[in-house]
Structures are given as structure tokens and as C-alpha cells.
């Protein structure tokens, strides 16, 4: 959930244009020797803060997390830092846990159901808004609101809307004669509830990225198709959809990466419950490390690292597709 619709466009353009070697030779009164030294080191003087930062605040926490997952920690050894090395024990504990299979399934269902519906709705809305009627731009901007709200705000609003007794959703269902559903408190519906809320949050992102993709398709293509007598449905499946494939792939993969990460929403709405009915890897990992009075940092870190592996596989696909669309 932490991205901006601009990312795919910007990164796609992020290759600098032609090299500017002339810059250094153009500087008057400097020997070529210092210039060459400058060309090599000056960039890294500007980059040093970020490199140090990445090492200290990305690489090191990740290393610490890996280390946590390979040692047997108790609260005491966690504070003192003398936990014994235990190899892959934590990973064995985690995969042997009765929650492992449900948590894996929930992670997959949550991720794929969310991005499938988000993408379908986002695509439909993008095609609709691309027709440039009056107010189209304003309404499109308003669609961004769910995506910009703090997750705690969305999650608590949905919690109250889905409340079994006083929620507006059950009241609306009652109007059409459908029985009240225990959205957040029944094991059958908890996962569905968090998926619904997550779809609501993700639709704007899909809409914006796909809309910007639609803008790159030249109008003449559609005009030619219209001359040939293509219907609206044909135009979508024969022109829009194929031409939008690169953008779609990037949207789906970014969606995948961001949805795998979702923790706040589920934790705030259901805490992974009831009876682990909506537990995913992200909430399970938190549950281990912070969810009880007796933290189990080892298994928590192990689950977290499994999640990283899933995210990185998705991420590498994303980078491959993006590279291809740039070149």
C-alpha cells in the first residue's frame, strides 16, 4: 500500500538521456586529472548518505531479522543477545505448526482475490473514465480518496460498517430480505470481510495506473477500428486489452507485491481471527513476535522471511517485465 500511481511511469522514464561527459571538460581552468577524479567521485559524494542509510536501515534490520530466525530466543536472551544458534529449527517449528497451511492458504486467497477484483474493477472504471465526459477528471481525483486515507481510518470505518448488530451493511441486506451476516465474528466471513475492505482500498491505484496506460493508446487506432465497424466489446478485447498488456502486467505485479505486505488492515479489523480464520503470513508473523505476552521472535522472524521470499519472487518478475517494456 505504499506506492504512488506515478511509480510505473516515472521509473519507466528514469533512464537519464544521453551521457553528459562534456560537463567536466567544459569547466575552465582545471587540469584533466582533477576532472577525471571529480567525475568518478563527485557522484558518490552525493550518493554516500543514501548508501550509508540503506546499509544501516535496510540491510542491517534485514540481517537482524535473518539472525533472529536462526537462533533460539527467549525474552532474556533477546535482551542480552546471547541466544544459541539453532539452524533451521524455527523454520521447522513454523512449517510444522497447525496454523501454517491455513495461513498460507489465506495469504494466497487474500492476495489473489484482492488483486483479481481490484484489477477488473479498475480496468472497467479506467475504460469508463477515459471517455472524457464532463466532470470526469474531478471524479477520477475523488476516486483516489480511499487509497490516500490512513489504513487505520479505512479499517475502523469498515469495522463499524460491517458490525453484526448496528452496521449499515447488515441493515442494507435486511432491506432486501437477506439475513444478517456476522462479517467479522464468524470464521466463514472474516476473510471475505478483509478482502472486501482491501479491494476498496486498492481499486483507485488500479484505476489510475490503467487510466494513464489508456492515454498512451493513439486515438487513430480506435478510429480505424470504428471505421471497420468494430463494436465496443470488440474494441476492448481486440485493441485496448492487448495494447494495455505491459501496463496491466506491471499493475498486477505491483498489486501482488503490495497485497502480500498487507498487515494493518487485517490486524485492525479481525486480528487474524476468529480462530485464525483470517490469519495471513503477515499477521501470523506479528502474532508470534508482538501478539502475546510471551514473544516468540524466532518463529516470527522465520514467517517474515518466508513472506520476503514470496514478495521478492513477485518483485523480480516485476523488474523483468519493466526492463522489457523500457527497452
Amino acid at each position: 500500500m505504499t506506492a504512488v500511481p506515478e511509480i510505473p511511469e516515472h521509473t519507466a522514464r528514469s533512464r537519464p538521456p544521453a551521457p553528459s561527459r562534456a560537463v567536466t571538460t567544459a569547466a575552465p581552468g582545471r587540469s584533466t586529472r582533477t576532472s577525471r577524479w571529480q567525475t568518478r567521485t563527485a557522484p558518490w559524494a552525493f550518493l554516500a548518505p543514501v548508501v550509508i542509510y540503506l546499509l544501516a536501515f535496510y540491510a542491517y534490520p534485514l540481517y537482524r531479522n535473518l539472525d533472529l530466525s536462526l537462533r533460539h530466543y527467549t525474552v532474556r536472551s533477546f535482551v542480552r543477545g546471547d541466544a544459541p544458534f539453532s539452524g533451521l529449527d524455527n523454520y521447522r517449528t513454523v512449517t510444522g505448526d497447525p496454523t501454517f497451511v491455513p495461513a498460507l492458504l489465506h495469504t494466497l486467497v487474500f492476495t489473489f482475490a484482492s488483486i483479481a477484483v481490484q484489477f477488473a474493477l479498475g480496468m472497467a472504471l479506467a475504460v469508463f473514465f477515459a471517455q472524457n465526459f464532463r466532470l470526469s477528471a474531478t471524479l477520477r481525483a475523488l476516486f483516489l480518496v480511499p487509497w490516500l486515507l490512513p489504513l487505520i481510518v479505512s479499517a475502523s470505518t469498515w469495522s463499524w460498517m460491517l458490525n453484526s448488530d448496528s452496521g449499515i451493511v447488515n441493515a442494507a441486506l435486511g432491506l432486501v430480505g437477506a439475513g444478517p451476516v456476522n462479517w467479522l465474528t464468524s470464521p466463514d466471513w472474516a476473510l471475505v470481510s478483509v478482502i472486501i475492505a482491501n479491494i476498496w482500498i486498492g481499486v483507485p491505484f488500479n484505476l489510475v495506473v490503467l487510466y494513464s496506460g489508456l492515454q498512451t493508446i493513439p486515438a487513430q487506432v480506435y478510429e480505424a477500428a470504428a471505421l471497420d465497424g468494430a463494436t465496443g466489446v470488440q474494441r476492448f478485447w481486440r485493441i485496448t486489452f492487448p495494447l494495455l498488456k505491459p501496463v496491466s502486467a506491471i499493475t498486477l505485479l505491483l498489486g501482488l507485491v503490495y497485497t502480500l505486505k498487507v498487515f494493518d488492515l487485517i490486524w485492525i479489523m479481525t486480528k487474524g481471527g476468529p480462530a485464525n480464520a483470517s490469519t495471513t503470513f503477515a499477521t501470523w508473523s506479528y502474532q508470534f513476535s508482538f501478539g502475546s505476552l510471551l514473544p516468540e521472535f524466532g518463529p516470527g522472524a522465520a514467517v517474515g522471511n518466508l513472506l520476503i521470499v514470496m514478495a521478492l519472487i513477485a518483485g523480480l518478475f516485476y523488474i523483468r517485465i519493466q526492463r522489457r517494456s523500457v527497452s
Binding site: 505504499t2 506506492a3 506515478e6 511509480i7 528514469s14 537519464p16 553528459s20 560537463v23 567544459a26 575552465p28 571529480q38 563527485a42 557522484p43 558518490w44 552525493f46 550518493l47 548518505p49 543514501v50 540503506l54 536501515f57 535496510y58 542491517y60 534490520p61 534485514l62 540481517y63 537482524r64 531479522n65 533472529l68 469508463f128 471517455q131 464532463r134 466532470l135 470526469s136 471524479l139 481525483a141 475523488l142 490516500l148 486515507l149 490512513p150 489504513l151 487505520i152 481510518v153 475502523s156 470505518t157 463499524w160 448488530d165 448496528s166 449499515i168 441493515a171 476498496w200 494493518d264 485492525i268 503477515a282 508482538f290 521472535f297 516470527g300 522472524a301 517474515g304 520476503i308 518483485g315
Partner: protein, 269 residues
């Protein structure tokens, strides 16, 4: 289908999409006695401000902390990412491609895993429950994004502009501060707005790294309201409304600023 019908349809879709936002506003003004009404009141006819009064009484310090953390994150993000973006876009460093790749991958690491690593480090460093600790952690959400945006934006600055500065005898640092940064104002605003918004909205780092301190951000303020099994939903939703103000402002401001057309004007002059 005529154009005006499309507008009607568009309004309908938008209304459905924004219904939860309306509901948040509606509940924030609803009296306690009407909260459990069946069916729920779709409009707060007997509106009350008691929810907002509760916010002012209890949540002001949280809002202050969030503001401080948000601003701190913005400063840290800008200081780190603007020079890096300049170097990657214009100075063509060796290994720049690798760094760009690392930044892309960095964005994919789940926050909850970063949080666990930070927790282990902060526990020993004594940074748990501190504002600087939370600023550092929150900036990890924004820094990779910031570098990518600055790189993309600064790559569009014409080389002639930078040559001119160098010929006038300016050092690279001088060029960066007095030419590149002013021209990149739009990128600065965009990165600042998003860095602020993400720090303001952060829940993962707050709940793991700031669980027991006195200075807590607003996201934890709302979470505590819910966690205490507090049934004062008007107060919860009123806090939510106030916590949404930065997002609303961003939506208005970003629309003006994100457009990157200023560069062309800078060259003409």
C-alpha cells in the same frame, strides 16, 4: 449513451466508492443514543459534536506527535533522496544501475519485517518509544520512492542549464543547491507530501516500535480507542475524520503540483 448520462453514471460510481467516507462523517456526528439504532440513521439529524470534543480532550497530544514525526520524516527523506536523485540522473556514477535496482527491491520488503529488525536494534540502542526512532523507521517507506521520483524528475532537466552553471565556475554542490533544487520544486513538493502522508498514516512501525511510550502518533490513538472496547464510535470516527485531513489536503495540492511542466519554462528564461 450521451455525455450527460455518462456524467450521471460517473457520479453514481463515485458516490458508491465514497460511501464509506460519508459513513465515517455521518457516524462522527451521531449521538451515542442513536448509535445502535435499527436501522442506522443515514443522516445525523440530531447531530452532536461530542465525538469531536472527545478528540480535542484526549487526542491532541497524539496529533502533535504525528505532526512532528511527519515533518521529521519529510526533512530526512529530502536530505537523503534529493542529492541521490541528482547523482543518479545527471552525474552517471559507476554502479548507479545497481543502486537503482536495490532501491526498487527495497520497496518490496514488507514493513512488518523491517519492524521486527528495527525492534531488535532499537531495544538495545534505547530508541524504542522515541520520536527520532519512529522518524528513522518511517523514512524507510519514503526514501526509495523519493530517490526514484527525484531521479526521474531531474533526468528531465536540460543539460545546458547545468553546463551554464559549471562554466560560470559553480561547483557541483553549488549547481545542485542553486540550480537543480529550485528547478525541481515540483518533485520536492511531491516527495514531501507523500513522505508526510505515509509517516502520518503509519501503523506498523508505530505499534511495534512505540507501543509503550508517552509520545504516540494518532494512528495508535485511534487503535487504542478501538482496542479498549470503547463503544464511543462517534469519537473513534471523529478521530478518523481528523486523521484524514492530510490526505484530503494532499489530494487538492498534489493535483496542482505533480504536473511536471515547469522545466520547459525554466529553460526559456
Amino acid at each position: 449513451m450521451t455525455r450527460s448520462w455518462k456524467t450521471v453514471l460517473g457520479l453514481l460510481f463515485t458516490a458508491i466508492m465514497l460511501f464509506p467516507v460519508y459513513w465515517m462523517l455521518n457516524v462522527s456526528f451521531t449521538r451515542d443514543s442513536d448509535m445502535r439504532a435499527d436501522p442506522p440513521h443515514v443522516f445525523p439529524f440530531h447531530g452532536t459534536l461530542e465525538g469531536y470534543r472527545a478528540v480535542l480532550d484526549q487526542q491532541l497530544p497524539y496529533l502533535g506527535t504525528s505532526l512532528l514525526i511527519g515533518l521529521g520524516t519529510v526533512v530526512l527523506t529530502l536530505v537523503l533522496s534529493a542529492p541521490a536523485g541528482y547523482a543518479l540522473a545527471k552525474l552517471r556514477p559507476r554502479g548507479g544501475g545497481v543502486l537503482g535496482f536495490v532501491l526498487l527491491v527495497a520497496q518490496m520488503i514488507p514493513g512488518i519485517i523491517m519492524a521486527m529488525g528495527f525492534y531488535a536494534i532499537y531495544l538495545r540502542a534505547g530508541l524504542l518509544n522515541t520520536v527520532p526512532g519512529l522518524i528513522l523507521a518511517d523514512s524507510t517507506i519514503a526514501v526509495p520512492f523519493g530517490v526514484l521520483i527525484f531521479t526521474a524528475f531531474m533526468a528531465g532537466i536540460p543539460d545546458e542549464l547545468l553546463h551554464a552553471a559549471l562554466i560560470d565556475g559553480a561547483t557541483r554542490w553549488r549547481t545542485f543547491v542553486s540550480v537543480v533544487l529550485p528547478v525541481s520544486r515540483n518533485a520536492v513538493v511531491t516527495v514531501s507530501l507523500f513522505a508526510f502522508l505515509w509517516a502520518w498514516s503509519d501503523f506498523v512501525f508505530a505499534t511495534t516500535l512505540d507501543g509503550g511510550g508517552g509520545l504516540r502518533p494518532i494512528t495508535l490513538g485511534i487503535y487504542q480507542y478501538i482496542g479498549n472496547n470503547n463503544q464511543q464510535w462517534n469519537a473513534i470516527m471523529a478521530t478518523a475524520v481528523i486523521a484524514s485531513i492530510p490526505a484530503t489536503l494532499l489530494l487538492i495540492l498534489a493535483q496542482r503540483y505533480v504536473a511536471a511542466g515547469v522545466i520547459a519554462g525554466a529553460v526559456k528564461d
